[in-house]
Symmetry: C2
Subunit: 340 residues, 2 copies
Amino acid sequence: MANIRDIAKATGFSVSTVSKALNGYSDINLKTKQLVLKTAQEMDYTPNVMARGLITKKSNMIGIFFGDQTNSGFDHPFFSEFLRSIKDVCGAEGYDILIFSNRKRESKSYKSICIENGVAGVILILTGDQRADQNIRALHETLPTVYIDSVPHQYFNVNMVESDNESAAFEATDYLIQLNHTRILKIAGDQIAKAAHDRVAGYKNALTKHNIPVDEQLIKYCEFSQEQSYKLTKSFFSKKTDVTAIFASSDTMAYGAIEALKELGYSVPGDISVIGFDDIDSAAGYSPALTTVRQQRLKIGQSAAKILINIIENNNDGSIQRVTVPAHLVIRESCGNRSV
Amino acid sequence: MANIRDIAKATGFSVSTVSKALNGYSDINLKTKQLVLKTAQEMDYTPNVMARGLITKKSNMIGIFFGDQTNSGFDHPFFSEFLRSIKDVCGAEGYDILIFSNRKRESKSYKSICIENGVAGVILILTGDQRADQNIRALHETLPTVYIDSVPHQYFNVNMVESDNESAAFEATDYLIQLNHTRILKIAGDQIAKAAHDRVAGYKNALTKHNIPVDEQLIKYCEFSQEQSYKLTKSFFSKKTDVTAIFASSDTMAYGAIEALKELGYSVPGDISVIGFDDIDSAAGYSPALTTVRQQRLKIGQSAAKILINIIENNNDGSIQRVTVPAHLVIRESCGNRSV
DNA sequence: ACTCTTTCCTAAAACGTTTTCTGAAACTTG
DNA sequence: CAAGTTTCAGAAAACGTTTTAGGAAAGAGT
């Protein structure tokens, strides 16, 4: 492949002149510039991204870390829509997307990985353990960073895009109360996730609004996974209880709960009503079709990408952006009216 | 960030010695090596990928081009599973994934984009027009390249992974014939795709096996999209016809066909049976639940990634690899027995 | 004709690695 | 102990760019 020196030779100008012509510097004669450009075209020249990146320390890449599939807080349809919208926005603005997947350097910090690869900014879609990772702080203190949906709640000064979890949880709980449920088990997700807490807050607000006492015994934190939710539900309903509804903080957790309930001989929604959160693709086809909260994943992804690019290109004035995207209840068939 | 010089200073050795220690050269004393490694760890050193790439001309990135969502040959669930499996395999082997999305350089060739970014190899998942792009040839003549599923059929010397389209199409057609259908409309996909031709071949084989004459009038090529299939079906069934079944080359095309049939007052599968191809996520939940051919997207993606990495690391001996992944019929509710 | 600008171009350093080549010191061997 | 061999470390070039600082030539103003 032709390099800048070849063009210099071909045109008779120096390397520096060619470089400047190529990069639109003003102290280059128009004719010179045109000649260089034409020659570059003819020689199918493309600048070497490594050499350039080495000196400018910039790139047109946006990095993405995302949680493993095994961490089921985010399963695949979820991620896919995020990625698609991020790709669309970033692509339009001139960025490529680098997905960090290399597992041969797992010991290294997020920050190192990003700097090493010279990404201009990072979007983080993390799950479970990853959120607890201490070295994550160094990352967002160094590089333009946007969290999607899932933030370690002890860190507050980060850019973030998330659903309006509190309002949506309020809406879902309110709906259950309309159906005469008053004893509602909240399967909350794991303690470290801000989303889990916000959804609990919405749940409590709704109860309070209807003068139903909040029973902390009904709020259970566990990993965002089908298995954990299954276990929790199974053990909870093995004892006698007056609970008539479950509000899970994810659809997969709702699946786990329903699975457990069925095994215990309960019918859903006949005996117990269940609401999920997310509206993953399979929710509508599930049996029973799952009543759940739909998160607008496309909008969330778009928004995250826009914020990130804005930070990158306006050289970060230090302000922190937080965007909350509305999420609403989608009523299907997994909730029933409680006979009073 | 710490660089190799900092480690040299900290340990008292020269840059070259540090580099060699880090890279496992044999002419380094064990103690020296251990000291360097330990220091590197402590200083959170990570080699600068640009500097290294500049000299080695290698990188640990795999590039991916994939078709736009607007080209519905591949819609989102499809791509998502490919990506996931590619990510898993590449990640385990020490590669990151660069998704080319930057739309500000559309004028450049695939080859230029890849070389400029220094990717070690490329996976192509292309649709419609992209496949016809002339400059694509320069790419696979220059860089390790694997096509997934969709190859411009005029090029033969390319690495490729695809479903066993011919056998699967045979199986699907055979099934329709078992149900006493003999006049089967084949909505084939677009001419330029090898997959379209292979599926037609399987269709013809099945007819021939059962001594049913092949009627070329029943083989219609059109873009892999719901709209085109809808239009084609609508116009086809507006005239009188003895066709009692449709075999579409994608699920979205099957949807288009069913939509048209319903509007024309036909019931599916009552009057007309329809089979799709792909088994996208929504196929099972569609009404009627779609009988279709399931492509093993995870396996296809894995296989493509493995082939690519193999080529990259074994310095391409020039042999061409083609892998065919089995695909089988999933029987649901969109086909019925034809009353004879 | 002299100075002051402006215009256009170049030399050279720098970015952080890898790798080849050279050589000092320490061992072997007879 | 001389000569040969092995072990280990370092110097320096190279990769392909960008960018700073400088300066020659041409034009402008008096």
